[in-house]
Amino acid sequence: MIPAPDLAFTLNGRTVSTVDGSIGAPSMRLLDLLRLHAGQTGTKEGCGEGECGACAVLVDGELVNSCLVPVGQLHGCTVTSIEGLPRVDPLVTAFARAGAAQCGICTPGMVLAARALLDRVPQPTLDDVREALAGNLCRCTGYARIYTAVLDAATDAGPGKAGGR
């Protein structure tokens, strides 16, 4: 009927494309590309319908649920999953210090949601944090330590300090 287009995009700094076979059908969920094909399992599947945010990644710096993104729409985009986050990042440090990860299954998505917030609003208020993370369900923490972590990371990366991006 209609051919699928060739497509290529950047995944955590590496180019993936249909030409080299690293992307299959355009209808493939970005989540499956990450987990099953690229073997990058830091992105988790909690519901498969965009409700829990465990699969959240950044596409061109914006937070998306990778279970609701077909790879066919990503031509030319830059995708960052938790594996693409700098290993040393104020958020990572702040999450560890605050005890913001318990079971950890929501944490990569939560960290990326926080990253997207801080990139847009470097010094967020608690209300900003609560709005920005509302699509990332956590069942362990009651969120309190996550609020602390994100606000601390903002302070750590604040004016005159290194970090952030």
Partner: protein
């Protein structure tokens, strides 16, 4: 597994005597480690997405499994039809006929088949397992199977219907009927001057661990059946696997994967799921099979918190002193026994609340219905019965014309009191101090007045906002109920390697609650080592002893105590046989001693076994004695704001004060309380399981089963008090489940305060608030 000569069992409370020479370590690194806010050991790997959960594992040649389930709410399975258009030979197919051993999950009873064969009791019961390398084909195959069922004509979907025998799931519909009776109820009733009577209900609650349940099974090169997965209780799983496969424990291994939340939901069900994965791999000649549920299947098939119905009659003198208490507590156990008897017993024991009452009767029943079995969920029956008694206390206070606070203050348990079950409250208990702090931190008294004024002014002006504040006071027993810990006789080990690194060797399973870090802190502290020298060995039943299941707020307190004893034994052994200085040794001296010891011994390991304190005696037959070795005490205050235009209840503040003996890690402990409180908020205000017409969860999607988001949850204030009266390390008590008990009653009290209503069930949804307001308006008009 052989254990070296240092192994020995040590009774709690006698540690100093049993481990002579094990005086407190003096290393600077270890000093103050118990109580230190050290970062979680599992934090970085989880934050960076490097931790491997079961669904992250890919094994060579791995197949994917799927489950075909019954549709009717009980009935007879007449035939399985395999549709056309599927190459069935390419699938691994397992039915009940393929079960080599006993076709039953090994819980309290063996009534629940691993795969239904003929008679089944609920919709969603597993019948047929399929495995294939291609998940797309697997999905098509599941759809191509037709189960020919003859449905039961009268399934039972409610507690009332079960008790009235409108349909019979099992003869009589009652799994257990317990009675806890103290004093003279008739005399108490005769003495009482003011009475309250109420009926209270709580709904089912789904765990919503964000990682759905999953297992991988395979047969390794040595012929051992290995099952790895998301679970809380490795030895429960092992018990079912050996029974189902007919293999001995030596040829079955259960391995715990990083587990994405449990909350009780991965206590019993993983045994079923592991059996399914095992049956598939055995049928597939040992090829790895991954069986991971999607969210919809997880919510449909796995246990929920037991719905409850509680009748309470309570009476007091005009001064407010309780004269009698009569509780009829019923849990909906669902279609198989599973854990219902023990959930029930905890619920019965907590039903009188944290109050003294000389004349009391609690009857508890777990009934059979046609729902999938309900099971363990944080709090384990106590949140349901504590909800009822706390609401009844509010009702009695109103009848007395007293404040709910005064009534509680008058009747709360204090040192020397005997609780209704028969436990003498120990001298370290200071419930008043807990309550006082909760009142102070929340501003309870001031807000009560201010909110009442605010409401009156708004009512007069026709404005829609109302505010409410509610209080709950309660305690929660830690560890297995009654003689449970005696039966478990849990064991754990501490192992040191030649480089002086130490492993905690226990079956306690990290699922987010922080047990790995906590246990390592305890061991590091006992050995005088910095925390980074201690880790937890992988939880693998071929290596770790049975430390009991990871449930019941018991890990820090009970297993912590065992590993602490084992660490002291190991240290004593090193002092005695390897020249470890008895004081002042740092990690280098420790490592050197380990190296010296291991030069002449094959391994360096110490084991200890739990023996309950002598004063903890429990008579299961009459429900009398001391059911728990330690209790944590709490007072919670909830504040709500309600918009009458929509009847939405917004939580505007929450204060949780608890006395937990010893806070081993403040960050982890606070995280447990914050998380538990928010689950309790969900239980109270958001989470409603909608049952479909065959008795399974109809809203089995995260879109429709609503747990709180960040937007719904303001920061919760958490405070700890420490009275080192617990049996755990440094006096620690269990605290994991405690925070689930308080939010329900405190929030509903706040709602009823705000509106003047008498809502008596949870969850309280806006629709319920609206209905109650209509009823209230009618009552006021009349």
């Amino acid at each position: 597994m052989p254990v070296p000569d240092v192994a020995g069992s040590v009774a709690p409370g006698t540690a100093a005597a049993a481990v002579a020479g094990g005086a407190s370590p003096s290393s600077r690194a270890a000093r103050g480690l118990l109580g230190a806010a050290v970062a979680r050991k599992d934090g970085p790997a989880k934050i960076l997405g490097e931790a491997r959960y079961v669904d992250d594992l890919v094994l060579p040649g791995m197949l994917h499994g799927a489950t075909v389930r019954t549709r009717a709410a009980g009935g007879i399975l007449e035939r399985i039809e395999f549709g056309s258009g599927i190459d069935w030979d390419s699938f691994v197919v397992v039915t009940a006929a393929d079960v080599p051993g006993i076709n039953a999950t090994q819980m309290i009873e063996q009534d629940q088949p691993v795969l239904a064969e003929h008679r089944f009791r609920h919709a969603g019961e597993p019948v047929l397992l399929l495995a294939h390398a291609d998940r797309g084909l697997l999905r098509e195959a599941v759809e191509a199977v037709t189960l020919h069922e003859r449905a039961d004509p009268s399934p039972v979907f409610s507690i009332d219907d079960a008790l009235a025998l409108r349909g019979e799931v099992v003869p009589g519909n009652v799994y257990r009927d317990y009675l806890m009776s103290r004093g003279d109820l008739a005399a108490g009733e005769a003495a009482a001057e003011v009475f309250f009577e109420g009926r209270f209900e709580t709904g089912a609650q789904e765990h919503v661990y964000i990682e759905p349940q999953g297992m991988i099974a395979y047969v390794d090169a040595a012929g051992v059946l290995v099952v790895e997965g998301s679970l809380q209780c490795p030895y429960y799983v092992l018990g079912t696997l050996t029974a189902v496969t007919g293999r001995d424990a030596g040829s079955v291994r259960v391995v715990h994967c990083t587990t994405g939340g449990g909350f009780g939901g991965k206590e019993d069900y993983p045994s079923q799921l592991a059996a399914h994965a095992a049956l598939l791999t055995l049928k597939a000649g040992g090829r790895p099979v991954k069986l991971v549920y999607d969210r919809a299947e997880d919510m449909l098939a796995t246990p929920k918190r037991h719905p409850s119905r509680t009748l309470v009659r309570i009476g007091a003198g005009r001064d407010g002193r309780l004269c009698f208490l009569d509780v009829d507590f019923v849990l909906d156990g669902g279609a198989y026994t599973t854990l219902s008897p023990v959930v029930l017993s905890r619920g019965v024991i907590h039903a009188p609340g944290a109050y003294a009452c000389a004349n009391a009767r609690v009857r508890g029943r777990a009934v059979a219905t046609s729902h999938p079995p309900n099971g363990a969920f944080r709090g384990f029956g106590a949140p349901q019965s504590i909800f009822a008694i706390e609401q009844a206390m509010d009702g009695l206070a109103e009848a007395l014309g007293m404040s709910p606070l005064e009534l509680r203050r008058m009747n709360m348990l204090r040192p020397g009191d005997r609780s209704v079950p028969g436990q003498t409250i120990d001298a370290t208990t200071d419930f008043d101090a807990v309550l006082d702090q909760a009142l102070h931190e929340s501003g309870y008294l001031e807000k009560r007045d201010a909110f009442a004024e605010f409401n009156a002014a708004n009512a007069a002006a026709g404005r829609p906002l109302r505010r409410g504040i509610g209080l709950a006071t309660f305690h929660h027993g830690a560890g297995f109920t009654g003689n449970g810990e005696v039966v478990l006789a849990s064991e754990a080990r501490v192992r040191a390697n030649v480089d002086g690194c130490v492993e905690v060797v226990a079956s306690s399973s990290e699922m987010g609650q922080g047990s790995t870090t906590t246990l390592c802190q305890i061991v590091a502290s006992a050995l005088g080592l910095p925390l980074e020298r201690v880790s937890q060995a992988p939880v693998d039943t071929h290596d770790v002893p049975d430390s009991g299941p990871t449930v019941a707020s018991r890990t820090c307190m009970v297993v912590g105590l065992i590993v602490e004893q084992a660490a002291r034994l190991l240290r004593a052994e090193l002092i005695q046989k390897a020249g470890l200085p008895a004081s002042g040794a740092d990690e280098h001296a420790f490592a050197a001693a380990c190296a010296r010891y291991l030069d002449g011994h094959p391994r360096l390991e110490a084991q200890a076994r739990y023996e309950p304190p002598a004063n903890v005696q429990w008579d299961e037959t009459v429900f009398e004695g001391s059911p728990y070795a330690s209790y944590a005490w709490a007072a919670y205050v909830a504040e709500v704001e309600i918009d009458l235009a929509t009847c939405e209840v917004a939580l505007s503040g929450f204060t949780a004060v608890q006395e937990v003996g010893k806070v081993v890690n403040p960050v982890i402990a606070a995280g447990q309380v914050e998380g538990g409180v928010v689950q309790g908020i969900g239980f109270a205000l958001f989470e409603k399981v909608a049952w479909g017409n065959t008795g399974t969860m109809a809203n089995n999607r995260l879109t429709n089963y609503i747990i709180p988001t960040t937007a719904d949850i303001p920061p919760v204030q958490v405070f700890f008090q420490e009275q080192p009266g617990g049996i755990g390390p440094a006096g620690a008590k269990g605290l994991g489940e405690l925070p689930m008990d308080g939010p329900g009653p405190a929030i509903l009290s706040a709602v009823n305060f705000a509106l003047g209503t008498r809502i008596s069930s949870l969850p309280v949804m806006p629709e319920d608030v609206m209905a109650a307001l209509s009823a209230h308006a009618l009552r006021v008009a009349a």
